[in-house]
């Protein structure tokens, strides 16, 4: 599957953000993922409202020292990984 830049990533059923000992985590069935830096910035924007394109451009601002294209590639790769791990759904973008 190739990612639609207008789709809106949203945490899949049974997945939510949590916190323990000041560490943000993504809680999933049977698993948990520690979130730091870029991963936290990405996942906290996966609310079903932001589009993939919006997330990319916001992160390109935050990580303005990195190559914009590299930032985009990393984000798309990470979103795809979370999707395949069933942590993320993509709501269709507005027509």
């Amino acid at each position: 599957m190739s990612l639609d830049a207008n789709s809106r990533p949203r945490l899949a059923p049974g997945c939510r953000m949590g916190e323990n000992n000041n560490q943000r985590v993504l809680l999933m069935p049977e698993r948990a993922l520690r979130l730091n830096g870029p991963s936290l910035e990405i996942v906290s924007r996966c609310d079903g409202k932001n589009t993939v394109a919006q997330i990319v451009s916001e992160l390109q601002v935050i990580y303005s020292k990195a190559q914009p294209q590299k930032v985009e590639e990393d984000i798309l790769g990470y979103l795809q990984l979370l999707h395949d791990q069933r942590a993320l759904d993509f709501e269709p973008g507005a027509p």
Partner: protein, 377 residues
């Protein structure tokens, strides 16, 4: 002693040993605890708070059948309020639409529904009760809710040939995850082992089918396969390592490092009525016993894999080698591995003899003589 600074991550809450099912591979101990010994709502709720304080992220509500607790909705609500992610691991049997609605409303994060087969006759035989149709109903009800869903098929010699039917149930219900969990041989599963162990031929076919299913379901349902470790080359990192990740609280409040730890002689377990979970995690002798590597023998002691699999399963070492500090005998590097090979060779030989009989049209169905798990008082 190393690794004591780590926090526990998962709490397995065995809320009760009561269960309407009598599964022949149940992971509960052979000595089941009675209703009168169970912790109260208030005691469990305190345990959830202590778990969160100790660093635990997730609570797995299990049993027996956790829905057999009349206070299950309050327990879910209180565990969520304590800050935990709550999974309900259930047969779905004592459940109706009203109760499900209440559970979701109380904050249940994840519903794990067990299946004993794809065909009703098989499933009912394995669970010793009529259970299959109710599970299919529960699957329909669950479609109304946006909560995590895992289907768990416990597979073995008697139902592994129904994998296509199991996958059809999966594809019709699109859960986030499906587990094909081979029976592990402890407790009731160990008692019924010779009738539950799949043949090598069955296993090869299963692996092939599940590889293709994983490809087909990518992005829809995560497919997890738990191997029957007697056939594995290396042992499983049982419970993520002894005293490294998991705490199990029994119905009466005893705290164990794993489901089967009671079979290891000389281990004394502490109870949540007397000490906090944090104290038990840090200093209970049972949790200390196999932490780190000091207890290891060769070949584990100098093995490169010891930090991956932690020597395998202590309870399996006890069951198969009569020595809880031995290398897990399923490991191909274990001096005890020939014992496991002999069990498998014997089983595969008798299976092929049986197949020969069937092909000669001697149609005598051999009904297994199961040792069913009873329901405690």
């Amino acid at each position: 002693m190393s690794s004591t600074s780590q926090n526990p991550l998962a709490l397995v809450a065995e809320l009760t040993h009561r269960c309407p099912l009598h599964c022949v591979y149940c992971s509960n101990p052979l000595e089941l605890q009675s209703r009168s010994s169970e912790l109260s709502t208030e005691e469990w709720s305190r345990v959830f708070q202590e778990a969160d304080a100790a660093g635990v992220l997730q609570a797995d509500f299990t049993g027996g059948e956790p829905l057999a607790r009349p206070d299950i909705v309050d327990l879910v609500r209180n565990a969520r309020a304590a800050g935990l992610y709550v999974s309900l691991i259930t047969s779905g049997l004592p459940l109706d639409e009203v109760k499900l609605d209440l559970l979701v409303d109380a904050g249940l994060d994840h519903f794990q529904l067990s299946f004993q087969g794809a065909r009703e006759a098989t499933a009912n035989d394995i669970s010793g009760t009529k259970s299959h149709q109710q599970k299919l109903r529960v699957l329909q009800w669950l479609k109304r809710y946006r909560i995590g869903l895992t289907l768990n098929f416990v597979i073995h010699h008697r139902n592994i040939d129904e994998l296509e039917g199991m996958l059809a149930i999966v594809e019709a219900s699109s859960p986030g995850c499906v587990e094909f969990a081979s029976v592990q041989y402890y407790g009731w599963g160990f008692a019924n082992r010779d009738q539950l162990m799949p043949t090598r031929e069955q296993l090869d076919r299963c692996v092939d089918l599940l590889d293709r299913a994983e490809e087909r379901l990518r992005g829809k349902t995560r497919v997890v396969f738990v191997v029957p470790d007697y056939y594995a080359k290396y042992p499983k990192p049982c419970v993520g390592g002894w005293g490294r990740k998991l705490m199990l609280v029994q119905p009466n409040g005893d705290v164990l490092p794993c489901h089967a730890a009671q079979i290891i002689p000389g281990l004394a377990f502490e109870n949540v009525k007397n000490r906090t979970l944090r104290e038990i995690w840090d200093s209970s002798a049972a949790f200390q016993k196999f932490r780190g590597e000091a207890w290891m023998q060769e070949p584990c002691k100098s093995c490169d894999r010891r930090s991956q699999d932690f020597g395998g399963c202590r309870c399996q070492a006890m069951l198969l080698a009569s020595d809880a500090t031995a290398t897990d005998p399923v490991c191909s590097l274990s001096p005890q591995r020939p014992k496991v090979d002999a069990i498998l060779a014997n089983l595969n030989k008798s299976a092929s003899a049986g197949a020969g009989l069937a092909s000669h049209a001697v149609d005598v169905p051999v009904k297994p003589s199961w040792l069913y798990r009873p329901n405690p008082a």
